[in-house]
Symmetry: C2
Subunit: 154 residues, 2 copies
DNA sequence: TGTATTTGACTATCTTCGATACGAATAAGA
DNA sequence: TCTTATTCGTATCGAAGATAGTCAAATACA
């Protein structure tokens, strides 16, 4: 209805001459595009160690901990337990982590020796990636990037 | 999702002495989490008009244009033509857009009257969403948000 | 103690977005 | 004309995420 917004309303007149994308000024749209681009790139980098982004996240998270259960990992990474099961399963199959019973019900997910070696590669890849990502952001915006993003979900 | 509230649920994670989440300072990780949270929220909002985010993007893009082909839309939104086909197909089935032959090979995708009415709702929803999104970002970071994101894919 | 509820791990299946691979038809060029 | 490239479309796959529901262990409680 009546746009009560005080933002630049270019809605009904998109100026179809030279502007290829009227969505580019929308924060939500740019957020999606940027995230897609970055995740695709990270996915390509991680294919070197045959890991998906979510799998690499798990390895990074459980490093140095020996009592983290599948559900705790899921809570930390916001992954449902139904989706954790096959994720952990693949890591177990590949010998990167193992399930260790904590009690008769809970299982701790811990890195194997091979998992630690792979994690080392993952660290190398992600650190380079994160550095490159920040480098692409103009210096005057760089320090605002993570705080702004964190305000959207933390 | 269901975690947009600032509740203190991390009793299971290490205390604030060490680090509650070693991934939270990674730009790529925060980017993904923020984008996921925002897109889930927008998806929920758009379910009111039974549209997915990508479908709503198409409507927003083609408004006011009458010679945009499926492949041009795909180029603008970075959607492969193979994925455009079912997307446009659903919009056609719902009577929101129609295919108009341009030259025997190319088809222009244009809004129907009903599509324009729906687009009006979409604008209302997305403008509120975009405004809320920006509001959540602390003022000192807000102006840096879109420029920083655009540097990652434009 | 016995019963009921909650929790942890898991299976099966669905949805959304995105990517390939390929085919058919038209347009454009050698 | 014959070949190549473009456009639109099919079918299929993959990653991430969501629901529903099973099952057994753990916990709460009357």
């Amino acid at each position: 209805m009546a746009d009560t917004s005080g933002k630049p309303d270019n809605g009904s007149l998109p100026a179809p001459d030279g502007e290829p994308d009227p969505l580019a000024i929308l924060p939500g749209y740019t957020l999606r595009r940027a995230a897609n681009a970055m995740m695709a790139e990270l996915g390509t980098l991680l294919s070197e160690v045959d890991l998906r982004v979510s799998e690499a996240s798990i390895l990074l998270l459980i490093d140095g901990r020996d009592t983290m259960t599948s559900s705790q990992i899921g809570t930390a990474l916001d992954i449902r337990s139904a989706n954790m099961a096959p994720l952990i399963g693949r890591l177990v199959t590949r010998g990167l982590v193992e399930r260790v019973p904590l009690d008769g019900k809970s299982m701790a997910i811990i890195l194997t020796v091979e998992g630690e070696a792979t994690l080392h590669e993952v660290r190398r890849i992600t650190q380079t990636f994160e550095q490159d990502l920040l480098q692409r952001i103009p210096t005057e915006h760089r320090d605002h990037f993570v705080p702004a993003l964190n305000a959207l979900w933390r």
